[in-house]
């Protein structure tokens, strides 16, 4: 059985760096990639990310007005042919899970079965992908980190 998410190591590292740079506040951004079916299994390949300028506190984060034109520019210049397969944000010191706010965002904006949410706790250097299968519940999504041979 394939994993549900494949993410390149340098992309995950970049997301962690972004979340660390925002400590002790939360960080937010989008996951960029493509969705596939293979032998009746669905998966996404995360090719990149777009860190967002944000209004952040220790317990809340949202995109700044004007942040979306940066997202658009990054998609066009670096990730042609890909789209937003999900989003990420950080829970500094609180662990990786989906809060009610997160769950509502996922249900509202990322409603396709391939969409994923990545939560990062930069304090403990932990990450977890999630999917929403039912209206009020979510589950961890299996993922693999792609390390390119040097």
């Amino acid at each position: 059985v394939p994993y549900e998410v494949y993410i390149e190591e340098q992309i995950l590292s970049g997301i962690l760096d972004h979340c660390r740079s925002q400590l002790p506040l939360e960080a937010i951004g989008f996951l960029v990639g493509n969705a596939y079916n293979w032998s009746h299994h669905q998966y996404v390949h995360v090719r990149g990310f777009t860190p967002g300028r944000s209004k952040s506190t220790r317990v809340h984060v949202e995109f700044d007005e004007g942040a979306m034109q940066d997202v658009s520019a990054t998609l066009h210049s670096r990730y042609s042919g890909s789209f937003l397969v999900g989003w990420y944000h950080s829970h500094p010191g609180y662990g990786c899970f989906l809060s009610e706010t997160d769950l509502d965002s996922q249900r509202t904006y990322f409603r396709e079965s391939y969409h994923v949410a990545l939560v990062v706790d930069p304090s403990s250097e932990t990450v977890e992908f999630f999917k929403v299968d039912a209206p009020s519940s979510y589950r961890p999504a299996s993922f693999a980190v792609i390390r390119k041979r040097s």
Binding site: I28, E62, Q69, L84, T101, Y109
Partner: protein
Amino acid sequence: VTVQSDGHDLANCCPSNSAALRSSPLGRTFAVGSCASIFALSQRGAGKTDKRNSCASLHSHPPNRATQSVSIGDDGLQISVIDLSTNRSIRLEVEPHHTLGSVLETVVNGLGLPRNRPYSLVLGGKELGSGDYSRTLAARGVKDGDQFELLPRPPGGM
């Protein structure tokens, strides 16, 4: 406003050894009106087109009818909006006096997205500000063939 939703998206993004996900409503066309400022184009009789300034609910039409057979005023524009979280696009026939807010509302309705949530439109690399949505397409300099991008604005937190 006449809306046509396309499903050309994911197939273009997938390598040849992977099957594309095709969950979008390929070929479905909609006539959508969400407020009185939008002209609803509707079919009346064989091959005739009627333009009414009224509210219209979502209607399904046979594929390839609405946007091919309707005619709009000399000032009519065709624009498209691509949803960057699914790569689906939607085509709209609009008038220069329509507001950007009514276009966003029509797109949200046409794509079946939850209403009363924040979304952003980007045109020509510039994100529309909160004050832009009350402006008309003419005032914003929207031209025939322009493509908008629709992006989500998810909040996160504890």
